[in-house]
C-alpha cells in the first residue's frame, strides 16, 4: 500500500469509523465487481450511515484526487458499480432507514439503501407500493434504482424509476449537499432531478429519495397464453397495444425458457409451446374484465392455443414465480449465463428475435428469451459453460451482434440495465459525436473534477482506469 493510499484510509476512518472503512484484501476483492462480468480494483470501501458521512467521503476523495463510486446492492448488470482502479467505493447498504411515509400524499422519504421490495412491503398495509419492480427487487436498493433508472415488468403501464422519483437529496462531487426536484410539482429551473436519475453514479451520490407510491389496484387479472410460433405471440403483443390497451405487464418467454422454468418450479407451464405471454391487467373490476376479454379475443385471432387465467393470488404468484425465476432455472442447463438488454420497436420483435436465434446458433450458443414484450424490451440470456475453452469470446461476439441488430432495427442500447462499462463503447451506435458531447457537458456541469464514477457511460472519457473482463462469473444476476 502506498503512503497516499494509507493516508486516504486514515482520513476516511477518522471521518467514519475504522469498522466502517474496509481495506482488507478479501473485502476489497468482494467489491471488484457488480453482477456484471467486469472487474476493477478499489482501495477502500466505506459504509456511511448519514448524509454528513457521505459528504465526508466525497470531500476526502476530492482532496486526495481519487475517484469514488457510489454502490447500492451491486446487482447492476452493466458494470456501473465496478470501481475504477484506485477508487473509493461508497456503499449505501448501511443507509437503510425509511425516513417518513405520507400515506395521503402517496409518497415516502427513504434512505438509498432501502431495498426495493422492502419499500413496497412497508407500505402494503396502507394499500400502496413502489411501482418499479426489477426482478432483483428482493436485493436491489432504491439508490441503485435511481442510479440506473431501473425498470421491471410492471413499468409497462407505470413507467420506469424516473416517473416515480419526486425529489432527491444528493451529495454533489464537490461535497455540496442539495435537494434536486422538490415535493411541489414544479420546482423552479431545470429538471435536475430528472437528469440525475439514470446518471449511473457520475453526477454524485444520492443520500435520500422521495418516492411516489402507487395505490394497489382493486382488481387484477393474470393470464398465461401460449402460441405455436414466436411470431404469433409477438403479433399479439403489437395488436394489444394497437387496440389501445396498455396492460400492467406483458411478458414473453420462449420454449427453451418455458422448459427450463417448468423443470425447476413445476407450475404446469406449456413446455411444448414456442412462446408464452404472461399478461396482467389491473384496475377497477369492470375495466379489468373488459380488457382481459379484449386481450383474449386478440390472442384468439392470432392463434393462441390456451389461455390460463390465474384463479387466485396463489396461482398468480406461481405464474409470476415462473417468470421471475428464469435465471435460477437456467442453472439446470448450463452453469453460466450472460444477459442482454436492448429495446426494439414492438413491431420489430419477430424480426429481431429471429436474428437473435440466428446469431446465437451461428456462435454455437444456447439462448433463452424471457422479456418485457409489451415495451419491446428484449432480454436474450446466453447460456454457456465458462470452463469450455473459447466460449467467452463467442458469448461476447454474439452479444455484440445482438446489440447491433437491435439498434439497426430502430431500437436502443438499453431499456433498463444502463450503459455502465458494458455498453460504453457501443454508445456511438446510437449517438453522434455531438450528441455525446452534449451528454459530456451535462456530466461536467455536475462533476467538473470527473471524480464521480469516471470511465462509465461515455466512451473514451478521461480518467478511465484499467478495467478488464473478470475470470470469475458474478454469483447472482437478475432480469
Amino acid at each position: 500500500m502506498t503512503a497516499s493510499v494509507e493516508q486516504l484510509v486514515v482520513d476516511l476512518r477518522r471521518a467514519l469509523s475504522s469498522k466502517r472503512v474496509r481495506d482488507g484484501r478479501t473485502e476489497l476483492s468482494l467489491y471488484r465487481h457488480d453482477a456484471s462480468q467486469l472487474e476493477g480494483a478499489a482501495v477502500a470501501v466505506c459504509f456511511p450511515t448519514t448524509t454528513a458521512e457521505v459528504r465526508a467521503c466525497v470531500e476526502i476523495a476530492a482532496r486526495h484526487g481519487v475517484p469514488f463510486v457510489p454502490r447500492g446492492s451491486g446487482t447492476g448488470l452493466a458494470g456501473g458499480a465496478v470501481p475504477p482502479d484506485g477508487a473509493i467505493v461508497i456503499s449505501t447498504t448501511k443507509m437503510g432507514e425509511m425516513l417518513s411515509v405520507d400515506v395521503a400524499g402517496r409518497r415516502a422519504w427513504v434512505q438509498p439503501g432501502v431495498l426495493n421490495l422492502d419499500l413496497s412491503r412497508a407500505v402494503a398495509v396502507d394499500g400502496l407500493h413502489f411501482a418499479p419492480d426489477p426482478s432483483s427487487q428482493q436485493t436491489c436498493s432504491i439508490g441503485g434504482n435511481v442510479a440506473n433508472n431501473s425498470g421491471g415488468p410492471h413499468c409497462l403501464a407505470e413507467g420506469v424509476t424516473n416517473a416515480h422519483i419526486i425529489a432527491l437529496e444528493v451529495v454533489l462531487p464537490d461535497g455540496s449537499v442539495t435537494i434536486l426536484g422538490g415535493e411541489d410539482p414544479e420546482p423552479d429551473g431545470y429538471d435536475l432531478r430528472g437528469v440525475f436519475v439514470g446518471s449511473e453514479g457520475m453526477f454524485g451520490v444520492t443520500t435520500a429519495v422521495c418516492v411516489r407510491l402507487t395505490p394497489n389496484p382493486p382488481a387484477v387479472s393474470t393470464m398465461l397464453m401460449d402460441f405455436e410460433t414466436v411470431e404469433a405471440g409477438a403479433a399479439t403483443v403489437s395488436a394489444v397495444i394497437a387496440a389501445g390497451i396498455v396492460p400492467a405487464a406483458l411478458e414473453m418467454m420462449d420454449r427453451l425458457c418455458l422448459q427450463a422454468v417448468e423443470a425447476y418450479i413445476h407450475a404446469g407451464l406449456p413446455i411444448d409451446a414456442a412462446a408464452a405471454l404472461l399478461v396482467e391487467v389491473v384496475g377497477l373490476p369492470h375495466g379489468v374484465e373488459v380488457d382481459a376479454a379484449a386481450i383474449t379475443e386478440i390472442a384468439v385471432t392470432h392463434g393462441v392455443r390456451t389461455v390460463r387465467t390465474a384463479a387466485d393470488d396463489v396461482e398468480r404468484a406461481l405464474l409470476w414465480k415462473g417468470r421471475k425465476s428464469a435465471f435460477g432455472a437456467i442453472a439446470r442447463i448450463k452453469p453460466n449465463y450472460y444477459l442482454h438488454d436492448t429495446v426494439v420497436p414492438r413491431a420489430k420483435l419477430p424480426e429481431v428475435l429471429a436474428k437473435v436465434y440466428e446469431i446465437t446458433a451461428r456462435h454455437d450458443l444456447l439462448v433463452l428469451n424471457v422479456f418485457h414484450a409489451g415495451d419491446g424490451n428484449l432480454h436474450p440470456l446466453l447460456v454457456y459453460d465458462a470452463r469450455e475453452p473459447g466460449v467467452m469470446e463467442r458469448v461476447h461476439a454474439a452479444g455484440d451482434e445482438i446489440v447491433r441488430a437491435s439498434v439497426e432495427a430502430g431500437g436502443v442500447l438499453s431499456g433498463e440495465h444502463g450503459i455502465g462499462l458494458e455498453k460504453r463503447d457501443l454508445m456511438p451506435l446510437m449517438f453522434s459525436a455531438v450528441d455525446l458531447q452534449a451528454q459530456g457537458a451535462l456530466r461536467d456541469a455536475f462533476d467538473p473534477s470527473r471524480l464521480a464514477n469516471p470511465g462509465k457511460v461515455l466512451p473514451s472519457s478521461a480518467g478511465c482506469g484499467d478495467l478488464h473482463v473478470g475470470r470469475a462469473v458474478a454469483e447472482g444476476a437478475w432480469i
Binding site: 405520507d102 413507467g159 415495451d375 436502443v412 442500447l413 450503459i419 446510437m430 455531438v434 461536467d444
Partner: protein
C-alpha cells in the same frame, strides 16, 4: 425531419430567440426570432409513438391521434415545442403524469448550430444521460427543439366530470386513481375515466353530481405547492389535488433558490450556451 434549414437560421452567432404561439409573452427585444419546423411526421399507434416538428400544434397531434383512440399527455394550448419548453402540465396531470414523462426523443439545435439528438425512439430507453428531461422546462435556454418523438396514451373509453361540496381528502382517499381532482376551497371536482360501470360505482359513496366540466381556473398566477399543504391557501384559487399546482388569482410568491442549485444552473447554461445567445433575458430560476 430535415433540420438543416432550422439550424442555419439559428446559426452560430448573435442572440436568437424562439417562439411558438408567443404564449410566453413574445420574443425578447432586438434579437432574431425563429420558429421551429411544424408538421406531423409519423403516427404509429401500434408503437404508441408520434413524431413531429416542434412547431406543430398540440391540437393537430390530438386530431391525428383521435382515429386511433390515442392522445398525448400534453395540454393543447399551443405548439408542442412551446409546451415542452415550459414543461407545464394540464389539469389531468394526476392521472396522465407530467409532460416530461411523455417525451422519448428530442432533436434540438445547439448554440453551436449542431443538430443534437437526446433520448431515443423507443418507449423504454436508459441509454446515456437523460437530456430530454433537461430540455423539458428549459424555456429554450439550452437549445432550440427541432423535432420530437412523443409517447401517446390510449383515450379512455368513457370519462365524466363530477362535483360536489365534499371534503377533498375524502374524495382522494375513496377514489381509485382519478384523472383529475380540483378544489376551490368549497367545491371538489373530479374527472373519472374507464368503464362506465366502474365510474358509477366509484362515485356512489360520495355526494358528487355529474357536471359539464372543470371550473374556470383563475389565471393570476400558477403556484407550485407541496400537495398536502392545500389547506393553507387563501384568496380565489383552484388547486390540483394530489399534484400541488394552484391556479391562483395572485401571482406566485417568489421562492428562495438554494445557491448550490443556482450554481448548477449557471454551469449547465455555460456548458450549453457559453455566449448566452439562446433566448437571452430568460432566466429559468427567475420568472
Amino acid at each position: 425531419m430535415d433540420l438543416t434549414a432550422f439550424a442555419d437560421e439559428i446559426g452560430v452567432e448573435g442572440p436568437v430567440t424562439i417562439t411558438g404561439l408567443s404564449t410566453r409573452g413574445g420574443p425578447v427585444a432586438d434579437v432574431r426570432v425563429i420558429g421551429a419546423p411544424a408538421g406531423i411526421e409519423l403516427v404509429e399507434p401500434a408503437e404508441m409513438i408520434v413524431s413531429c416538428g416542434a412547431g406543430t400544434m398540440v391540437a393537430e397531434l390530438d386530431e391525428a391521434l383521435l382515429p386511433h383512440g390515442q392522445c398525448v399527455a400534453i395540454p393543447p394550448t399551443g405548439t408542442v415545442g412551446g409546451a415542452l419548453a415550459t414543461g407545464r402540465s394540464g389539469i389531468r396531470r394526476l392521472g396522465y403524469g407530467p409532460v416530461r414523462d411523455a417525451v422519448l426523443q428530442i432533436r434540438y439545435v445547439s448554440a453551436a448550430r449542431d443538430v443534437v439528438k437526446a433520448g431515443g425512439p423507443t418507449v423504454k430507453n436508459v441509454s446515456g444521460f437523460d437530456l430530454c428531461r433537461l430540455l423539458v422546462g428549459s424555456h429554450g435556454t439550452l437549445g432550440f427543439m427541432g423535432d420530437v418523438i412523443l409517447r401517446t396514451r390510449p383515450r379512455a373509453r368513457f370519462e365524466q366530470w363530477f362535483a360536489g361540496q365534499v371534503d377533498p381528502d375524502m374524495v382522494m382517499a375513496q377514489l381509485y386513481r382519478p384523472t383529475s381532482a380540483l378544489w376551490d376551497g368549497a367545491t371538489t371536482w373530479v374527472l373519472l375515466e374507464g368503464d362506465p360501470r366502474d365510474v358509477a360505482e366509484q362515485v356512489r359513496l360520495l355526494s358528487l353530481d355529474v357536471v359539464e366540466g372543470p371550473p374556470v381556473l383563475p389565471d393570476g398566477g400558477r403556484w407550485s405547492i407541496v400537495p398536502g399543504n392545500f389547506r393553507t391557501l387563501r384568496g380565489r384559487f383552484v388547486v390540483e389535488m394530489g399534484v400541488g399546482v394552484v391556479h391562483h388569482e395572485d401571482p406566485a410568491p417568489a421562492r428562495l433558490v438554494d445557491p448550490v442549485i443556482r450554481q448548477l444552473h449557471r454551469r449547465i447554461k455555460d456548458a450549453f450556451d457559453p455566449q448566452g445567445r439562446l433566448n437571452p433575458g430568460v432566466d429559468v430560476l427567475d420568472r
